[in-house]
Symmetry: C2
């Protein structure tokens, strides 16, 4: 009849008739170095097994050691709620890599504020410190908290670009530039000479990176382009499309799945076939149900990035990786079939 309270090293020591320090040594594989008799070691192991001993994570971190826990903090309102959520895939990658490295994952559910947002410091105490380090992700990330966390010296890795921040933090970012370059290369190779960029009105970092890459690379790809059209999803008009076509645009580069779906509808309403009459490429994955399904697209390798973040974090903890480390992960290769030769060629 085991006691209902968790056994400590002292309990093990009592049972095995040794000192608590001996238990600690055996546990941490330092028994050999310090010369603990094999028989004693065995006795200790047996006691640990019989009492079901597990090291106390809190005590370990208090002491300053590692405890095998990796925190996952997301600024999104809820964790795995939306299965189709953009962030789900990152989490899958994180989890897979954690499995591979024998680390446990702590989801910081407690960091949610009454208003649904999540804050590292919200509840007064920084829960993250329970873990050895953390992977932080989320659209709505709070730069002040990131800064503070970094200043505190807490080891964490960010998923998403953090170039230009004051305090260096390792981050894992997608290689948007290469992805956009691939798209433009494909368009140019197909014979297009003029392309138009359609994106969302709200400009966050990932959107800016895509657009910046587009603008920078268009000249090199021997392409012309109109002023980027940045509008809220749901407000793309037929007029804009007509105008672009009149200007000689034969290929559209679309930022989001939503805009892609809309554009698909507008094109088909005009009797234009893809890619026979117009070519299109999306810089994200078209939504399953949308008319843009099957369109040529590149996409962020979210799973790979999640896994990468875990590896970088462990490297950081080991001291193998400097806090200035930046990890750029290639996007998924261009897939789909909405890029063809422009009409009349």
């Amino acid at each position: 009849m085991p006691s209902s309270t968790r056994p400590s090293q002292r309990d093990i020591a009592r049972v095995a008739q040794v000192s608590q320090a001996a238990v600690s040594l055996v546990l941490n594989g330092k028994a050999g170095e310090k010369g603990i008799a094999p028989a004693t070691q065995e006795k200790i192991r047996a006691a640990m097994a019989s009492l079901g001993y597990v090291p106390n994570a809190a005590a370990r971190s208090l002491r300053g050691g590692r405890n095998g826990l990796i925190g996952v903090h997301t600024f999104e309102s809820v964790f795995p709620v939306a299965a189709d959520d953009y962030y789900h895939e990152f989490l899958v990658g994180i989890e897979e890599q954690a499995v591979a490295q024998g680390q446990d994952l702590v989801l910081f559910a407690s960091t949610q504020l009454p208003d649904g947002t999540r804050s590292v410091y919200g509840r007064g105490s920084n829960r993250l410190r329970l873990t050895d380090g953390a992977v932080v992700l989320g659209r709505e990330r709070n730069e002040d908290e990131m800064e503070r966390l970094a200043l505190e010296g807490f080891p964490f890795v960010l998923i998403g670009n953090r170039a230009g921040a004051v305090t260096p933090v390792p981050y894992v970012a997608a290689d948007y530039t290469a992805a956009v370059a691939e798209v433009l290369r494909a368009l140019a190779a197909a014979g297009h000479r003029r392309t138009a960029y359609l994106g969302m009105a709200a400009r966050r970092r990932p959107q800016e990176e895509r657009l910046r890459a587009f603008l920078a690379l268009v000249p090199g790809a021997a392409l012309a382009s109109s002023t980027p059209h940045l509008v809220e999803a749901g407000t793309v008009t037929g007029e804009w499309v007509d105008q672009q076509l009149a200007l000689g645009t034969t290929a559209f580069v679309v930022e989001t799945p939503e805009h892609a779906g809309e554009l698909a509808d507008l094109l088909s309403a005009r009797g234009l076939r893809v890619p026979a009459d117009v070519s299109v490429a999306c810089l994200d994955v078209p939504a399953p149900g949308s008319a843009a399904l099957g369109w040529s697209h590149v996409a962020v390798a979210r799973r790979a990035m999640g896994a990468r973040a875990v590896r970088v974090l462990l490297g950081l903890l080991e001291g193998d990786v400097p806090p200035t480390h930046v990890d750029v992960v290639p996007c998924l290769p261009l897939r789909g079939s909405s890029i063809g030769a422009p009409p009349g060629r």
Copy 2:
């Protein structure tokens, strides 16, 4: 210029010229009770603010026993990988409730064995003990491990029925009986007199519970039924369907989404319309893409069950809930439109 190491209560005390205990009291709102001078309190708060003090979670849990961590153990091979996985919804419920109760969730990624299965005791010792308690779920659950865990006195709650087990463990189960009763009531009310049960060949507990309820309730519902047809998905034959129809069956009760899809195909191949010619009800959610989409069905309230499990676990930890506690959660109400009057009425 904040120091590179985090300030402790002692640092605050030094700055504010008070004792560390006073800092602790102010921090926990016990300053009033213990009669700390308002001026002193203010001094302390100022010091905390200026040094950017944040309590150390590890030290708190070490001190208090509980650490605010709830373990989540699933016997399935990977954790949140499959977004459309049956277990995903349970996890969502667990996470939501954990948020509500300010608990963090630990995913035991380290408990995965090389063969992909998960074991509580995989690494020799019971990793779960790291947390205050755990919620355990999964199709392939290992009864021996459950038994051992219960004997160890580790606080955990199971999702799924555990009636009849030797050692009592609180569990959260779905009320299949009520759900099946609702289905049969609806069929009887529509005027059906004979129904047939179609289920899967592999009989696990949830399947058995559905069937048992069906067999027990059919007589009371003034219905007749043939011998249940339990076959592997993919092997339902047109012959069986024809035979049932010949026997006078006007309504089918189907155990799984897979069987429902198959049955839908077979019916439509015979030119039978649902529910004009045949009524059907599924005891699970029809798959999104299948021909059985929109069929009348009941379903386990997975999200609610996940949340319930967390509440029960916390009750168990508080001592408010006995280890013999059983929590039965109603299924989701009957929805869909594949139940109608039998033909010729």
